[in-house]
């Protein structure tokens, strides 16, 4: 029973992990808490559902949903991020929330507010190890998520573009002085984080076989929590945080009850913020110079 719940927790955690990595890219490099990401998560699931119901092949539906999310993310960059440079840090946050509300309501207008049943795309096969039952879709999602994060981590540490991104994360000014073209990198980062969020949305839809215009909120906010628990700006922090939050959620539903999920998950976040604000894996901030 416990082992089975741990497996389920890790599966859910993989989704949170992808969301947390998406948030951490935006925060760590651009210092932007991008609240449109839950909207892009939802867009991934909802649009894939929409294209499939219109009769498109599944692969095409997935690709179209991802492309749409990337495109919307570029709009977020143009209207929520770019005009706000040098202003109060809360303002881009508000604009990105505006995008979340916009996306949710556009989907609401088209699909209605009800939960829609996402078709079962993966045969309902289960693997059994001893007493453990693991669905093929679950396992596939977990493997895909882990591979994505591994690839991203490799990309950031081993390619020249990755090194440029890390330089921007260290100091925007230094990056500009070194001749790094931030005008090209920033949209790239927006696309990358949008794709991560939308893939998480697709995996969620495939795994739990349901989509709705508001599916992004709960998952998105827990993704933020996961990012902070692990340590903002750190990919491995996001991985650790995602898995922890997933476990905390599943275990508290199983052993205490569904209504206490927010107490355990956000209580954990609050505790971390008070005891160790930089997160489990993260560097503490230093005091400014005069």
């Amino acid at each position: 029973m416990l082992a089975q719940q741990i497996v389920n927790g890790l599966m859910l955690g993989a989704i949170y992990m992808l969301m947390a990595v998406a948030f951490t890219l935006a925060i760590g490099v651009l210092n932007f808490l991008n609240f449109s990401l839950p909207g892009l998560f939802m867009l991934g699931g909802m649009l894939a559902y929409g294209f499939i119901t219109l009769g498109f092949p599944v692969i095409f539906a997935f690709a179209a949903a991802l492309a749409a999310a990337a495109l919307v993310s570029l709009l977020v960059e143009r209207f929520a991020y770019r005009p706000m440079q040098g202003g109060d840090p809360e303002v881009p946050l508000v604009s990105s929330l505006g995008f979340l509300v916009l996306l949710e309501n556009l989907m609401l207008i088209y699909f209605g507010s009800d939960q829609q049943a996402f078709p079962a795309l993966v045969p309902d096969l289960n693997l059994r190890f001893g007493g453990l039952v693991i669905g093929i879709a679950q396992l596939g999602s977990l493997v895909l998520s882990v591979l994505l994060v591994l690839w991203l981590s490799w990309f950031l540490s081993s390619t020249s573009t990755g090194r440029c991104i890390r330089t921007v994360a260290e100091s925007r000014d230094t990056a500009v002085l070194m001749g790094i073209d931030t005008g090209r990198l920033v949209p790239l980062l927006f696309i990358a984080s949008a794709l991560l969020a939308a893939i998480a949305g697709l995996l969620f839809a495939v795994n739990y076989q349901q989509v709705s215009p508001f599916m992004g909120e709960g998952v998105g906010f827990k993704g933020v929590a996961a990012m902070i628990v692990g340590g903002m700006g750190s990919i491995w922090g996001a991985v650790l945080g995602g898995l922890l939050i997933g476990l905390a959620e599943v275990l508290s539903i199983t052993f205490i009850g569904a209504d206490v999920v927010n107490i355990t998950v956000y209580g954990l976040l609050l505790l971390i913020l008070i005891v160790r604000p930089q997160g489990l894996i993260g560097r503490p901030a230093t005091r400014e110079k005069l």
Binding site: V94, Y266, L290
Partner: protein, 287 residues
């Protein structure tokens, strides 16, 4: 006044109180994304005291407000050690935890909600909101408001000039929480029903949205922001299902054009100067 108009104005009054609860800490540079939690404390506390102990409302409402403020004070002290996005997320988590606790408290009805017996009419709500606005106007004329901006603008220098940065921040946070609790208590008694689900993240987030829309540089910003956010969707009612989408587009475009919000210090100063210039011209003509 028609029932519809009264209903809209009551919502406006609640939004104004919530807006100032967010504004106070925000003026000191602290984003509170958990304001709904503090409203819930005020609402449940006042409801509980009137229902179970037959307290009169004039005693229960201030106690509810004070409890929310006290929670803000006790939790604000450790939480305000964090800054920026960390603080925003800590308050966000706090709001979630508080409303989840009420969701699980069977003594106040749990997930089924909690009926409240004592009723406050629309005029009482208007009076409460007016009281909050007057208090804010008063504070905006004091050194306290000056230090809020100073602490936001340059905490290091404010500290070296002897201003207790932590003290100002905790005070702003706790006072904001008390204002939220005050509004929450009136909410409970006006609608005669509270449920934890009402005090959710989106309530907190939307409040922040209209405070930033109105602008945090002056004390008028939150009032204007709350008024616009309450009334504009009503005016857009004709295009019913599109109204929130249109509204969101408007917010995005507006913030891109005017990130400092609608009402700014320079806007007010410009108006004042025009007035005094006009007065000077009039007096010279008279002479």
């Amino acid at each position: 006044m028609s029932g519809y108009l009264t209903g809209v104005l009551v919502v406006l009054a609640f939004n104004v109180m919530a807006a100032y609860a967010v504004y106070l800490p925000l003026a000191a540079g602290q984003l509170n994304l958990g304001i709904a939690g503090f409203m819930a404390i005020g609402a449940y506390a006042s409801a509980f005291l009137t229902n179970e102990y037959a307290w009169p409302m004039w005693a229960a409402i201030p106690v509810g407000s004070a409890l929310a403020g006290l929670t803000g004070l006790v939790i604000g002290i450790p939480v305000l050690r964090t800054h920026g996005i960390y603080l925003a997320m800590a308050t966000f988590a706090l709001g979630q935890v508080i409303s989840a606790i009420f969701l699980n408290l069977e003594v106040v009805g749990g997930a089924a909600g909690y009926p409240v017996s004592d009723y406050v009419g629309p005029n009482g709500v208007f009076l409460a909101a007016a009281g909050v606005v007057v208090l804010m106007l008063y504070l905006s004329r004091t050194r306290f408001a000056l230090y809020l901006t100073a602490v936001k603008s340059d905490p290091t220098v404010a500290d070296l000039l002897g201003v207790s940065v932590r003290g100002i921040q905790v005070a702003a946070f706790a006072l904001g929480a008390a204002v939220a609790g005050f509004g929450g208590a009136f909410y409970a008694h006006h609608y005669n029903f509270v449920e934890a689900q009402h005090f959710n993240v989106l309530l907190s987030v939307f409040t922040v949205l209209y405070v930033l829309f109105g602008g945090t540089q002056t004390v008028w910003g939150p009032l204007v922001g709350a008024a616009f956010f309450t009334l504009a969707p009503e005016l857009l009612r004709a295009s019913d299902q599109w109204r929130y989408a249109l509204f969101a587009i408007f917010i995005i475009v507006f913030m891109a054009i005017r990130p400092e919000g609608l009402v700014t210090t320079s806007l007010l100063r410009f108006r004042r100067r025009k007035n005094t210039d006009g007065a000077a011209a009039a007096s010279s003509e008279a002479a």
